[in-house]
């Protein structure tokens, strides 16, 4: 433990005495105050708040991530090149402790800078932020798109409408295609018809009037603006729906002297002239008040710090295995590819009709997305800026996976590689 603490302190001293940490903190603080004055918002306090939290904290997160990645990729590689690492490696300290202490030190330094930016966020976003409450966002209970795809598979392959190219494709490709469709599947609500969605009963039970809202995004068969009219009901709570915009609408559910009921079923009766369409996995949500902005900000910080730990661990693993420039180049390429891949996959959900080179590109993008998406999706800033609750169970998962399990695995791998790399 003394060895671990020694290396931990040494790494922090290296950062602070080279003034790197000070520069990073100053740049982050400046960014938090400069961004609101540079970015033109929509003129509303809400818009300014989104700018501050999204661009401000987002910019600091990007800056800290790249800086700590550069420090991590350089750490072991530089010490090895300057032969200082061998002086540590001949001491009675486990190689794992060397890597783990460096991960802990660099991620702590990064987390401290993020904490500073988070502390400045309420000033940047306006004092009203402190009094706001975030909301839990509940989605209908449904089988996962993958499960739905499996259920649809046999029927889809038998259908005469299914193209031959798809019928000849591998089952995994077809299942992926069907899962994408399931994610976007619409429920059509005809005039005077009722459609219902079940929500987690435990979360909805006992919710009172004014404490719950439904957030919906309507569409109609003609994909044009048209009046929507109807009624939403959740137990004894209800709301009249009447709007022209078809944008994302929030309807507070008010009481008729009761509660949200035991079942957690939200129903919608279409009273308009045309059939309406709703994608239950995307367009139907219940919003229930949670705790304050402060707690949400704190949870966001924990989640960001956890993800930063993983980035640092990845950088140190590369640093243990490669020379400094190669490690830094590899890390930045991986970071860029993992940022771009989800949009490539979204734009090209299948490879039917694509050339061989495109197919290879899609395969790479899909693989990178599958590997990195569970991690990159843990970015809480979008929810924070929209006052959506960064759920504690999600934070716990981020801490368990990103701050402990994956860095531990990477540290073990780095410790394994370290003596081999000494061979030159």
């Amino acid at each position: 433990m003394r060895a671990f603490l020694g290396i931990f302190q040494l790494e922090l001293k290296a950062l602070s005495r080279s003034r790197s940490l000070l520069m990073l903190a100053a740049a982050s603080a400046a960014w938090m105050f400069v961004v609101p004055r540079l970015v033109v918002g929509d003129g509303t306090a809400e818009g300014m708040r989104e700018v501050c939290l999204g661009y401000g904290l987002g910019g600091v997160l990007a800056l800290v991530t790249v800086s700590m990645l550069a420090a991590a990729t350089g750490s072991l590689a530089r010490e090895r090149a300057e032969k200082r690492l061998q002086l540590t490696m001949v001491r009675p300290v486990r190689y794992f402790a060397i890597v783990a202490a460096k991960i802990a030190a660099l991620s702590s330094a990064g987390a401290a800078v993020l904490a500073l930016a988070c502390a400045l966020a309420p000033f940047c976003a306006g004092s009203a932020s402190n009094h706001r409450r975030c909301v839990h966002v509940l989605r209908p209970l449904m089988p996962s798109p993958r499960e739905e795809a499996k259920a649809m598979y046999a029927e889809y392959m038998k259908s005469p409408d299914t193209p031959d190219a798809v019928k000849k494709a591998r089952p995994s490709t077809v299942l992926r295609l069907l899962a994408t469709r399931a994610w976007d599947r619409y429920d059509t609500v005809r005039t005077n018809a009722v459609t219902a969605w079940r929500f987690p009963a435990a979360d909805v039970r006992g919710v009172r009037s004014g404490e719950v809202s439904a957030r919906l995004k309507f569409s109609n068969t003609y994909n044009a603006r048209q009046d929507v009219a109807g009624e939403l009901r959740l137990g004894e709570l209800s709301a009249a729906v009447s709007n022209l915009t078809q944008a994302v609408l929030v309807f507070p559910l008010a009481d008729r002297g009761g509660e949200a009921g035991e079942e957690g079923v939200l129903s919608f009766r279409n009273l308009g002239k045309d059939a309406l369409m709703l994608r239950p996995r995307r367009d139907v949500e219940l919003l229930i008040p949670a705790d304050s902005f402060f707690w949400n900000l704190l949870r966001s910080w924990v989640e960001m710090a956890a993800t930063l730990t993983l980035v640092v661990a990845f950088g140190l693993f590369l640093s243990a295995s490669l020379g400094r420039p190669v490690a830094l180049f590899t890390a930045i390429v991986f970071l860029l590819v993992s940022e771009m891949s989800p949009s490539v996959v979204e734009q090209y959900p299948d490879e039917f009709g694509a050339t061989l080179s495109d197919r290879i590109g899609l395969m790479v993008a899909r693989t990178v997305t599958e590997v990195s998406h569970p991690i990159s999706s843990m970015n809480p800033l979008e929810r924070l800026s929209r006052d959506e609750c960064v759920e504690p169970r999600e934070v716990a998962r981020a801490v368990a996976v990103n701050a402990f399990a994956l860095p531990l695995a990477l540290a073990l791998l780095a410790a394994f590689v370290l003596p081999f790399k000494q061979e030159g």
Binding site: K83, L87, R91
Partner: protein
């Protein structure tokens, strides 16, 4: 049961390979040696003779391609073996932003000393190497000789049973060289085993009990300094015959 030999190499070879695993350099070839407890053993030889590679295998920084290296009867990479080891590299390789006291304290921490014990040991070692007055100065500002003394203090901080010195007098002025030699002798008299490399025969003659000369990764001569009855240079010239055959001429001169 603890081995009598502190260090033992049994028919050890080391071949470096390129990216495609093709052999490029045979640095050590079938070397066997044993360093006994309490002795000062000198590993001598010209540049490229395999001294540093041998030292790195003993320290566990390199693994042998063939043969076996044991440190206190254990693998050199075991933590238990490294706990009993101190190492002074050819260049000091110190962290320039740390002060002298912090540097020694850092290595004390790596050796597992408690905070109080580390602090006491740091003061003791700074006094021993004569750097008490500059304890709070960053080592980046030190002269080469001062940095060398800090590195030596760092090597001794864990009270090692075996001290490995790679060219310990390299870059030192005559007074500092004499001080280091006196210190090594004192440590050896205190029971510490010392393994040192040098390309200066005079230095080796002053401090070593036993020496081995390496050339092209092989041992060409080995013997006890006290039983020579002549200078080290003459002894080895007699041992190896024509030094030209071994490319030792510049080294012995």
């Amino acid at each position: 049961m603890e081995a009598e030999n502190v260090v033992s190499l049994d028919n050890v070879s080391k071949t470096f390979r390129d990216f495609w695993l093709r052999p490029t350099v045979s640095a050590v070839d079938g070397l066997s040696l044993a360093v006994r407890r309490g002795e000062v053993f000198g590993l001598l030889g010209p540049n490229g003779s395999g001294k540093s590679t041998t030292i790195k295998m003993i320290l566990g920084l390199l693994s042998p391609s063939a043969g076996e290296v044991k440190l206190f009867g254990l693998s050199p990479r075991s933590v238990a073996a490294r706990r009993r080891l101190g190492y002074l590299p050819e260049l000091s390789f110190l962290h320039p932003f740390l002060t002298a006291a912090e540097t020694i304290g850092y290595y004390a921490g790596l050796c597992g000393l408690s905070r109080r014990e580390a602090s006491r040991r740091t003061r003791e070692l700074l006094a021993m190497v004569g750097l008490e007055s500059v304890a709070k100065r960053p080592v980046g500002e030190f002269s080469k000789g001062m940095a060398r003394r800090v590195a030596l203090a760092s090597a001794l901080v864990g009270r090692p049973e075996l001290l490995v010195l790679d060219e310990p007098t390299s870059g030192l002025d005559p007074i500092s060289t004499k001080e280091v030699k006196t210190l090594v002798k004192a440590l050896a008299q205190g029971g510490m085993t010392v393994l040192t490399t040098s390309h200066l025969l005079a230095d080796a003659e002053d401090i070593c009990d036993r020496v081995m000369i390496l050339n092209h990764g092989k041992s060409v001569a080995e013997g006890e300094v006290s039983s020579l009855g002549t200078s080290l240079e003459e002894f080895f010239l007699a041992k190896v015959g024509s030094v030209q055959d071994f490319a030792l001429a510049p080294f012995l001169r």
